[in-house]
């Protein structure tokens, strides 16, 4: 990336003024333009080499080291290491150098390996052959030698080597099909169009003769945006200019499908291709745990510095007596004596720093990273989050945020494709007020028992026939659906395939599922769209005859207009404009038709949660059409502001329509969406639905998904209301309502669980939201925002409809910045959710039908919305408690480790004498105490997985980062200090004034031997290692064989290592101070007794605290643990097999409900509530006796 940027900078400054322009000119096939064209200074473009690797062979070591030492922790340890090298320090540089070296090497190897893979991949890509037309012949070249302006031949199933302007294809109509699966994940085939004037050049000789220049913008990363112009010179005439849009641009990375070959001219190469420009990595998100970890680190850094300062000062106070500073038995060297006092003090300070630096452990960073990295595999491995239909499980893009999943307070969810399946079914259409219902509902299969349903509500009257047929034709023509005949389609479309198999083998493919549903629906109503051939759309009508319409123009859909249009010419030569779109964007443009009836039906459908579209048309006269054509072309040819001009043109064209009718498409709720939302609510999360849909539809979905309950009082903050009252009044009224309630809340519900109390739901629409956010003239915007936030805070659910993508992000930002700084999570499936996914603390993408963009930009991707429940309640909860313990424990064990060393300074004349041997200092964090905590932080489960899922209340146990609050931190620190005091003074009293001795049975009979300072240190260290490991053992609630292995294994390892380390005269060491120290210590009875005593004393307070807290003030999790233990023997075994039964039952009942729901609105409503009662099962609330819990689990299985 950097490279290309620098290169483009160089280009700009070196190539002169001309290249400052925003566009580039390309000569197709490097052909000189005919004389008379503007003077042209060739620009330099990068070659087609793709460089995704970060390093080269030469710069790997320096660059990688630089990158690594940019991390503050590594840098800190480097400094410590250098200090150790430079000054005379108590511990050898090995003690900090070895761990640092280890960390750096491991990381470097990992990064190097990854980079090597990238190099390999780069080389494979850069060397792969491409076909280039040179002098009328096809030449093979390596991809990297491709230059801008080359004409490239790409064959079927090849990927495009660079960004190409599509000149011609093997197809007569100059189209080609492309999948962009590797770019944006959309595996559907997209049609691209060749430049009109060149599409007839089919052979290489012909193509080589093209004389044209292309002007286009400089490369920019937006995949869907491109403007350019091609000037084609034919026979020395004035060049014919044609507009180029993104439909002419074949992107690198996309694959050619269903087309034998195409010709294209390279316009962006190498690192300037849109794919390469999209490499940019997202900004790093940091979790709340990491922030508190850093805060703790600062505290420890302060402790470290103050310790060093205290010791330095005391040292000089103590040394003021020259006999202490330099007694006769311990003289200084001459150079030491002559050193400057100030310098001496400073080096002493540094030496103390070095001595105590282990309090900030280098291994903590490694362990935390390993924990996150390895831990994230449990998410990808989770079978329950695997979706068979999609063939994919959860994906982890950022393991840094694992624990944040356990801290979520606000969930922002998209509606379409997230809450709902985005698997559209055509339900009905309404033509001039008459309702038509196709005879069967197709959702992957024909539903049984649906024959009895009325096909058509009221049979059409004779005169209605004409408009009816026009309506059907309109829907058959006004779309961008493609017909695909082959069977090679990906998993998502399988449902459709099955559906259409009955009649023909063709499959409809479109980027919009609504359109597919509509065309499918039309098929069932007798009008079948066959194909688009040579700009003619073919329709098979009810009489099985084929009608052909020439497709003149497509006014494509965009989310601002919320409608699309086509202009077609019928065989009779009439021009029709068919327009379909959201009711709000169609009704204002309608001048004729049964608007009232249609509007009523549309509103009725919207309330039922159906997606409605209105269809309108108008006839165009020939001259009208031609003016439209001109308008469109001039807009399309514009190089600048093309979007705007096009929008204006569309706006003008789509006027004075005649309303035909409306359609209703159902988007079913995703499986268990309601259950998931309810669980999230119970877990104390606030769920917001942000959707672009209209209010009624969205509200209906919210009711269905139990975001709003029947007793939820809905507060509306919509344009409808703000039209009547001023925004100010509405806001204040709402906040008053909410506050009345919250006043009563504090009285009534001390229990805290908000089941029976009145809850509020807020509905707000995009327009109102922007006026809330917009600063008003008197500058009271902050005020509105505050009131709005206040209202939101008191609402359990908020629905934001009519939202633009950017507004979604704005809302997330607003909540993020509110004064509690809650942790937010955004979940969505489409490109329009990307902004909010990137904005929220945790972004979750659903691998939906609208492509992979959301999943790619997210931190985690899951196949279905229901997986969010396990993701947050189980994985998030586990990761949080695991990392919280990991962080606290690391600080604790290092306090235990270093504090005795600090105390020892008071007894060794502040001489920086280390208490422990070098090997112990080095290995303490690396090997003696590292694995147990790592494994603990990977597999600890304080409460069973099923319980966590059944009882979402538990999630509140850990909310607000409660395990890493200052109180807990201080508790752990003091525990560490206490243990350290016990270790040190325990050993001190064993040694002091009395003789801790071994009676030496092992060596010689009845000898009374003396212990020195290293034995003292080893004794403290042994107690330390055992205490710290056993403390973890006491905290472990989930003892698998791995825990046993690791905990007892590392203790054993410590003993074995010590025996070995002291058992041999190590030839490479220049001191043998540890020789036999450990064995001698073990041969002494009092040492054993002392060790056991000190371990007991150090562990005692923590155990007592735990037991008393559990008994007197148990947390929810602890209560559950107790209950779980009680229940397990009888309740557990029968539960597991039944639960799997339950899920399949659930699906069946869901299907059975389906037709009934549609047939009668009343019964549907009943069905919902009935279903809802059984659908979600409340596990025993905590205070309930276990007989109740048994009965409720029975309830669950009965569904």
């Amino acid at each position: 990336m950097d490279c290309s940027y620098i290169r483009s900078l160089i280009n700009r400054y070196c190539a002169g003024e001309e290249n400052w322009v925003d566009s580039r000119t390309i000569y197709v096939g490097h052909r000189e333009p005919p004389p008379g064209a503007e003077a042209y200074i060739p620009q330099r473009y990068p070659d087609n080499r793709i460089v995704s690797s970060k390093y080269t062979f030469w710069n790997f070591v320096p660059k990688n080291l630089f990158e690594q030492f940019r991390r503050i922790a590594n840098f800190y340890f480097l400094i410590i290491f250098l200090v150790q090298l430079i000054i005379d320090t108590p511990t050898s540089p090995v003690t900090s150098g070895l761990p640092l070296f280890f960390v750096i090497t491991v990381t470097a190897i990992k990064q190097g390996y990854e980079d090597w893979l990238r190099h390999k991949a780069d080389n494979a890509v850069n060397r792969c052959p491409v076909h280039i037309i040179q002098h009328g012949k096809v030449v093979r070249k390596q991809s990297r030698k491709l230059r801008v302006g080359d004409i490239v031949l790409v064959k079927e199933d090849e990927t495009f080597p660079c960004d190409l302007i599509f000149l011609s294809s093997s197809r007569e109509d100059g189209t080609c099909f492309v999948t962009t699966a590797s770019l944006d994940g959309e595996s559907s085939h997209k049609t691209y169009f060749a430049v009109q004037d060149t599409k007839s050049f089919h052979t290489e000789e012909e193509v080589d003769r093209i004389n044209a220049t292309i002007e286009c913008e400089q490369p920019q990363p937006d995949l869907y945006k491109f403007v350019g112009r091609i000037n084609i010179y034919q026979n020395r005439d004035e060049p014919a200019a044609r507009p180029l849009g993104s439909e002419n641009l074949l992107l690198r990375g996309a694959t050619l499908k269903n087309t034998e070959y195409i010709f294209g001219v390279a316009i962006y190469t190498g690192m300037e291709t849109k794919m390469a420009l999209n490499y940019q990595s997202k900004s790093q998100k940091r979790s709340a745990v990491e922030k508190s970890m850093n805060a703790f680190l600062v505290v420890y850094l302060c402790i470290l510095i103050s310790k060093a300062l205290v010791n330095t000062v005391l040292k000089y106070v103590w040394q003021s007596n020259p006999n202490r500073d330099e007694p006769w038995y311990n003289q200084k060297t001459e150079s030491e004596r002559q050193r400057n006092t100030f310098l001496k003090a400073f080096t002493d300070f540094l030496a103390f720093m070095v001595l105590f630096n282990y309090i900030i452990p280098v291994s903590m960073y490694v362990t935390v990273e390993m924990q996150k990295f390895l831990g994230s595999y449990f998410i990808t491995w989770d079978e329950e989050m695997f979706d068979d239909e999609l063939g994919e499980g959860a994906l982890v893009n950022t393991s840094d945020l694992n624990e944040e999943l356990g801290q979520v307070e606000y969930v922002f969810t998209d509606k379409t494709g997230t809450l709902t399946e985005n698997n559209m079914q055509f339900i009905e259409c309404c033509i001039d007020g008459h309702v038509y219902v196709p005879h069967a509902i197709c959702n992957g299969q024909i539903m049984p028992g649906t024959t009895g349903i009325d096909m058509i509500d009221s049979s059409p009257v004779e005169e209605g026939m004409e408009s009816e047929e026009l309506f059907f034709r309109a829907l058959c023509l006004c779309h961008t659906v493609q017909v695909k005949e082959e069977e090679t389609i990906d998993g998502i479309k399988k449902g459709l395939q099955q559906c259409s198999k009955s009649s023909s083998s063709s499959v409809y493919i479109s980027s919009s599922p609504d359109e597919v549903a509509l065309v499918e629906g039309m098929k069932r109503l007798g009008f079948t769209y066959l194909r688009l051939k040579d700009s003619y759309m073919e329709i098979q009508n009810r009489e099985d005859s084929i009608e052909r319409f020439e497709l003149m123009e497509v006014l494509s859909f965009d989310s601002v207009r919320r409608r699309m249009s086509v202009i077609v010419r019928s065989h009779t030569g009439d021009y029709y404009l068919f327009c379909k779109g959201a009711d709000s964007s169609i009704f204002p443009r309608v001048i004729k038709g049964k608007v009232e009836q249609v509007r009523a039906r549309v509103e009725h459908n919207a309330v039922e949660g159906l997606r409605t579209l209105c269809v309108a048309y108008k006839m165009l006269k020939k001259d009208e059409y031609e003016s439209v054509c001109r308008q469109l072309n001039s807009a399309k040819l514009a190089l600048h502001d093309r979007e705007k001009k096009l929008a204006e043109a569309y706006d003008e064209i789509e006027q004075d329509l005649i309303l035909l009718g409306a359609t209703a498409v159902e988007d079913r709720l995703q499986e268990k969406a309601a259950d998931t939302i309810e669980s999230l609510h119970k877990a104390g999360m606030k769920v917001w639905v942000l959707t672009g849909d209209k209010m009624e539809t969205a509200a209906a979905t919210c009711y269905a998904s139990r975001l709003f309950h029947r007793n939820t009082q809905i507060l509306e903050l919509t344009t409808k209301r703000t039209e009547e009252q001023s925004l100010h009044d509405v806001l204040f009224e709402l906040s008053r309502t909410v506050h009345q309630h919250s006043g009563s809340l504090s009285r009534d519900s001390i229990s805290g669980l908000s089941q029976d109390m009145q809850d509020y739901g807020l509905i707000i629409d995009g327009a109102t939201l922007s006026s809330v956010m917009k600063p008003t003239e008197d500058g009271s915007s902050g005020n509105y925002k505050e009131i709005f936030l206040e209202i939101c805070r008191n609402c359990s659910a908020v629905l934001c409809c009519r939202m633009a993508p950017l507004q979604k992000a704005q809302i997330v930002k607003l909540i993020k910045a509110s004064k509690e700084h809650p942790i937010t999570l955004a979940i969505g499936d489409g490109a329009n959710d990307v902004s909010m996914i990137l904005e929220a603390h945790v972004g979750i993408g659903i691998m939906g039908k609208e492509g992979r963009q959301a999943a790619r930009n997210s931190d985690y991707a899951i196949p279905k919305f229901k997986h969010l429940k396990k993701m947050l309640l189980v994985h998030g909860h586990y990761y949080y408690i695991r990392i919280a313990e990991l962080v606290q424990y690391f600080f604790y064990k290092n306090v235990c480790f270093i504090f005795p060393q600090f105390l020892y300074q008071f007894f060794c004349g502040f001489s920086q004498q280390p208490l422990y041997d070098t090997a112990y200092l080095t290995l303490y964090n690396i090997s003696f105490t590292s694995l147990p905590i790592l494994l603990y932080s990977l597999i600890e489960q304080h409460v069973g997985m099923d319980i966590l899922k059944k009882d979402p209340y538990l999630y509140m146990d850990i909310s607000k980062n409660c395990l890493l609050r200052w109180r807990t931190f201080i508790y752990w620190t003091f525990l560490g200090v206490f243990d350290a005091l016990v270790f040190f003074f325990g050993a001190y009293f064993l040694f002091d004034n009395t003789t801790l001795t071994s009676n030496g049975q092992l060596m010689t009979a009845n000898t009374h031997l003396m212990f020195g300072n290293w034995t003292f240190g080893t004794l403290v260290f042994t107690v330390l290692v055992f205490t710290v490991t056993l403390k973890l053992a006491l905290d472990t609630h989930y003892w698998t064989w791995i825990n046993h292995f690791v905990i007892w294994g590392s203790l054993l390892f410590y003993v074995v290592f010590s025996l070995l380390w002291g058992g041999i005269i190590w030839p490479f060491l220049n001191y043998q101070r540890m020789y036999y120290v450990f064995m001698q210590m073990l041969s002494s009875g009092p040492a054993w007794l002392g060790i056991i005593l000190l371990i007991t004393v150090s562990l005692l307070p923590d155990v007592v605290k735990k037991v008393i807290c559990r008994q007197l003030w148990p947390t929810t999790a602890e209560k559950i643990q107790n209950a779980e233990k009680q229940l397990k023997p009888d309740g557990f075994s029968e539960f597991t097999p039944l639960s799997s039964l339950h899920s399949s039952n659930y699906r069946n009942s869901d299907r059975r409900n389906q037709p009934q729901r549609r047939s009668d609105q009343l019964s549907k409503k009943l069905m919902y509530t009935h279903w809802g009662n059984h659908d979600y099962c409340t596990f025993s609330s905590l205070s309930v006796s276990d007989s109740k819990s048994n009965s409720s689990s029975g309830l669950e299985t009965s569904v």
Binding site: S52, E114, R118, D157, T159, S182, L183, A254, Y279, S281, N323, P327, W328, Y329, N330, K332, D382, G393, V396, N397, S399, D400, G491, R856, Y878, F907, C908, G909, Q913, I939, L990, T994, T995, M1003, N1006, T1007, H1008, L1009, M1010, F1011, G1012, N1013, F1016, H1037, T1040, N1043, I1065, Q1072, Y1076, L1089, G1090, L1100, V1107, Q1111, L1112, E1118, N1122, K1125, Q1126, D1186
Partner: protein, 372 residues
Amino acid sequence: MMASSYSAKEEDGHPSGAAGTSNSSAMKSKKPDNTAFKQQRLPAWQPILTAGTVLPAFFVIGLIFIPIGIGLFVTSNNIKEIEIDYTGTDASEPCYSCSDKSKGNSTEPTTPCTCEVSFNLEEPFESNVFMYYGLSNFYQNHRRYVKSRDDSQLNGDISSLTNPSKECEPYRESEKKPIAPCGAIANSLFNDTLKLFFVFPNGSKSEIPLIKKGIAWWTDKNVKFRNPGGNNNLTAVFSGTIKPVNWKIPVYELDTDPDNNGFINEDFIVWMRTAALPTFRKLYRLIEKKNSITPALARGNYTLEIIYNYPVDKFEGRKRMILSTISWMGGKNPFLGIAYITVGSVCFFLGVVLLIIHHKYGNRNNSADIPN
């Protein structure tokens, strides 16, 4: 961090024709394995620290610790120990004449100064007696001091003998010759000579035999410390070196016994094991019981004769001589016994408190808590 870089790799995507086609087949294998480990469902023992489970442990600890503590305390009290300070800082003390104070600033004691301290044993020391010297305010654990030695020289390495480690500075060379043994520790070897006499009621004295071997760690004497070139003809081996500046005799004249001379002199080895704390005692001699009837040291009057060489006055240190018997648990050590009794009682007490809490509050909120 790690995962993000992995995902970056994935995002690069390197589109190739092959990747696209292999996608669908890879999809099938994407299904995660249903192993207990991957699904986090490994069978596990799930202990919970409740009052119910901890209570018995507390009582058991209490019941075990208190007897141990009592045993230790009694044993420790049965150990006989007598400590005699012979520093002589005060003019009334017998060794005052020998201490630095009386001599003023002249640091060169030309003739060895001898003094005598009398003491009385009211009870006989039945079993073997250990004789220690103790120093206070002597920072053997000072960093500069601790590292000022050359272990390879002490291990008999010839090259280190002639070229000692830099750590020994400023006790590395003297008069351009390498010091053997080098370093501050060796240089400050304790060089008072202590002799013990039993004073018969009639006034005559009999010297009590002091055994000077077997006071060092066996491994130190036999492995860690070695004379260069074996034990024969140490004079020749040490010829190129010079004695430590504070020593009166060279290292090869420490003892006449070749098995206790040079670096393997046990007094030297004991001194070389630096003490952990500034107040320490080191084993000096053993007094063995002659036979089962007579105690090692009978009741009566004794005289300690000191050849006073070691200056401690300058750093306000003290010198002591200690006589002690020994038990199975080592020397006199009331701390361990008291600590055991205390901890045992505290555990017992806590057990009772927990029992009360458990009964009073346990039934209130979760009676079902206590497993069985």
